[in-house]
Structure formats: structure tokens, C-alpha cells
Point group: C2
Chain length 273, copies 2
């Protein structure tokens, strides 16, 4: 029989006041097309409790750059952001994509507020130092002002974060959306019990990549290492999951990898301690 | 001798709690060039007390449309906004211009927050009905949610409003920046003692248009009518001033017409009751 006075089941005062917040990262492939974006937004609007959305937009930026006759230069899948490309990503991420998402969420009763790191000075970054590669106007996250975000969230506002930050010296910087999602989630973990969700083209991490139904429901570090050793988890999924475990170690309650149109369900792969 | 108990000099409780707010409208000509924009932002940052900035961006949008091979169609100086042009203004107003202003203000210690009407659902509009002219995706302001703006302002946030609104059905609409400035000022007059400033290429309304120093310091309706009758005030300045008097009648304390780099000084032409 369970001891009703077992102290381990009594949450600490801090834990007790923390409410659940879901932070979803959605990539450029889904936000590029109105159909997939709208399906995603409908699913996002159904998530209960506090929430935050971080979006990419790389494909839309590449398409706009091409129309403007600007070449998209990539090194190892990372964009080189020269002055002209910075204007393109500022327009596309901060304007076109962000505001279409905000307007689309308002119809669904979600009180969205589109932000770059410069807005409310919520996220500062540092221009990435030039080593072998000069990435140009690309920022590595340095500081998250989570207090101002958490105040808005507690009032029912849903921040929609574009992958742009600022250096505090007047320059906007192109910033990886996964990094923004991870750093924001970690900073908000002080105020909320944060669940971080990454949208993926599959239903989750699969035991057999050809069988969509073979989703691994939960992964801890031990199981992850076992699957990697057995070759069940391989390729690009390995760094993705390593990042997820890093987030868990930094105070995030749970990381979920699932399909964009299923984020409101309880499916996908849950990464936990 | 003045009667110290003269009731007319005692402010009502509501007036007593109202603090001063300056709402500045700046046009596309000034925001287009980094030099004039930075001079303007420096002056704006020096305005004391609560403040709001409304910006245009028509020239930047026209330039971007040209680069994209999209023709800018105008009727009586008003832009026709078809689907392609709506994308351009969403990118340019909501992204490029708005975020450059926000990042530029953060350097100056101004906690700016860039907004379109869709963000926080702060301004809804209605697509302009088709009459002789089909203006396309152009919105006429219908509703201002000033409560959420005033809460942010009272916390020291400086809203930077792009000339874009939404219809609440998922569509962004291109909206005249003067209209946004006027409607926002009127709605905020419930919470603040609002001063509305329009930036102009001259130091104010001039007695002699060739003499920059001949600024008319103050104009009431009577004086305005006299100057119009005498031909001192003519042309495009007449509807500008009529709008200013309309704003005064709608509860705005003072309207000022001055030069963009002088908004922090006490100059310009003051329009008052």
C-alpha cells in the first residue's frame, strides 16, 4: 500500500506552480505551401495550454532569392548570409512567413504575436566568427530574455518566433530555427514545464524506416544507444536525437518528434530521461 | 485675482491619471534610406514619455516590386494591391522595414516591438468594397484593440506599427499608414493624453513656402480657414490639415506637423482646438 505521506510524491513549491507549455518547431518545407501550413496550424491550435511556435522558412527564402537573381550559397547545408541574402531572409522570415502564420492563427482563435529576436529584445546573438567558412550575417544565440516572453505567454499570447535575432548593435542576424527553439525552450523551463516538439515528415522515430506504423513511443538515453549500436537509428536522426537529449539534460521535461499534422495528438516519439 | 477654487482648473479624475503619449507617423521617403532613417530614429529615441511609431514604406515596396518584375499600379496616388503585390508589401512593410526599425531602436535603448494588425489582433480592417476602382487587398480600419497596446506601452514597450492589418479571416490587408496612425491615436486617447505627430519634409506649415523659417507655430480651425481663404495654405496641405482637425475633434490633444529629424524638439506647427 502506498504511503500517503511519501514525500517523493509531493511536488516542491516551485514545481507545483509551473504550468505546462508546448514549444513547437516547424520547418521550411511545411510553411512553404499553404495546404501543409494550414493543416499544421489547425493541429497547432488544438494543443491545449500555453504554447510557442518557432518556424523556419529556408525554402521560401531560396525561392525569393532566385526570383531576385540572388544565388543561395550553402556550406554543409547551412546558408551563407551575405548582405543581400540578409535582406531576403528579413523580408521572408520576418514578414511573409511570420505574418501569414500570425494571421492564420488569429482565425483559429490563437492570439499570435510574431517576433524576431530584436522585438522586445527577446533574443540576442553574436555574429558567428569567421573560421574556415565565413557564414556572413549568421548569429549564434547568446542571451534569451525569457521573462518578457513568459509574461506575455501567461496572458494568453502565443509567440510566433521567426529565425532572426539581433546583435544589439542594430544588426539583424539569420539564426537557425532549431537553435532558437532549443534555446527558447531551455530559457522558458525556468517558468514552465516545457515540452519541446520537432515536426518531422514521419510519425516519429521508426523501428523500421519503411513501416510508418513502427514508431518507437519512448526513448531514453540507454535505449537510444542500443538502437544506434544495432543500426536501427542511423544517419541524420542521430544528431537530432543527441540534441533532444541535450535539451532534456538542460531542464526540458520532454522532447517529442512527430508529424506536423499530428502534434495535437499524443503520438510520436517521446524522448525523456 | 484667480479664484483658487475655480472648478474649471481642477482636472477630472480621469484626466488626472492620463499620461502623455506621442504617436509619430513617418513616411516611406524617410525610411527608405539608412541615413535619413537613422537620423529620424535618433530624434524619435529622444522623445520623452510613452511613444508609438507608425511607418510607411511605399517607396521600398515599389523598388522591391520592380526588382521582382511586378508592376506597381496606382490610382490617385493609392496603390492597387493584387495578390502578388500583397506578398511584396507583407515582406517589405512587415519584414524588411519594420524589423530594421526595431533593431535600430533597440540600439538606442528603445524597447521596440514590431506589429502588424494581425499581431495580438490589435487592428482589424475590412477589404475595401469595389466601386469604380478595385483596390484589391486594401483594408479600411474597422476595430482597434487599444487595451492590449496600452498595457504594453505602460510597461515601457514602444510599438512600431507596419501599415498592414488583417480581416480576422486569415487575410492580411495593405492599409494606409496615415489611417493607422489616426485610428490608433484616437483609440489610445482613452488611455493617454495623445499627441499625434506627422513627419513632413518642411519644418511645419509655412506662411511662405519658400522661406523655411516661416513656420506657423499654432493653428486652430479659425486661423486655418482664414489662411485657406487668403491662399496661404493650399494644395495637398488642406486635406492633411482637415485630417488633423478631425483627429483633434476625436479626442486627440494635439497634432503636430514637423520635420522628421526635429520631432524631439518643440518646433513645427501645432494644430489644436
Amino acid at each position: 500500500m502506498k504511503d500517503v505521506f511519501d514525500k517523493s510524491s509531493v511536488p516542491s513549491p516551485l514545481e507545483r506552480v509551473k504550468e505546462r507549455l508546448t514549444l513547437v518547431k516547424v520547418g521550411g518545407k511545411i510553411v512553404e505551401k499553404p495546404e501543409s501550413l494550414n493543416r499544421f496550424l489547425a493541429a497547432f491550435s488544438k494543443i491545449e495550454g500555453y504554447k510557442v511556435l518557432v518556424h523556419g522558412g529556408g525554402r521560401s527564402a531560396t525561392a525569393m532569392a532566385t526570383r531576385l537573381g540572388i544565388e543561395s550559397k550553402m556550406v554543409d547545408g547551412r546558408r551563407i548570409t551575405d548582405e543581400e541574402m540578409l535582406k531576403v531572409v528579413t523580408m521572408v522570415y520576418g514578414g511573409l512567413v511570420n505574418k501569414q502564420i500570425v494571421a492564420g492563427l488569429q482565425v483559429l482563435g490563437v492570439n499570435a504575436l510574431g517576433l524576431t529576436g530584436a522585438d522586445l529584445n527577446y533574443m540576442r546573438s553574436e555574429k558567428r566568427p569567421v573560421t574556415d567558412v565565413d557564414y556572413g550575417f549568421v548569429g549564434d544565440v547568446k542571451e534569451v530574455n525569457a521573462g518578457i516572453l513568459s509574461d506575455l505567454i501567461a496572458k494568453g499570447v502565443v509567440p510566433v518566433l521567426a529565425p532572426l535575432t539581433h546583435d544589439g548593435a542594430g544588426n539583424l542576424l539569420n539564426t537557425n530555427a532549431d537553435a532558437i527553439a532549443g534555446e527558447t525552450a531551455k530559457a522558458l523551463a525556468k517558468y514552465f514545464e516545457v515540452r519541446l516538439m520537432f515536426c518531422f515528415e514521419k510519425r516519429g522515430v521508426l523501428l523500421n524506416e519503411n513501416v510508418e506504423d513502427s514508431v518507437i513511443p519512448a526513448l531514453n538515453l540507454e535505449l537510444f544507444k542500443k538502437y544506434v549500436a544495432e543500426g536501427i537509428i542511423s544517419g541524420g536522426m542521430i544528431p537530432k536525437l543527441e540534441n533532444a537529449f541535450e535539451a532534456i539534460n538542460a531542464g526540458i521535461k520532454e522532447v517529442v518528434i512527430t508529424r506536423a499534422d499530428l502534434i495535437h495528438t499524443n503520438g510520436g516519439t517521446k524522448i525523456c530521461k
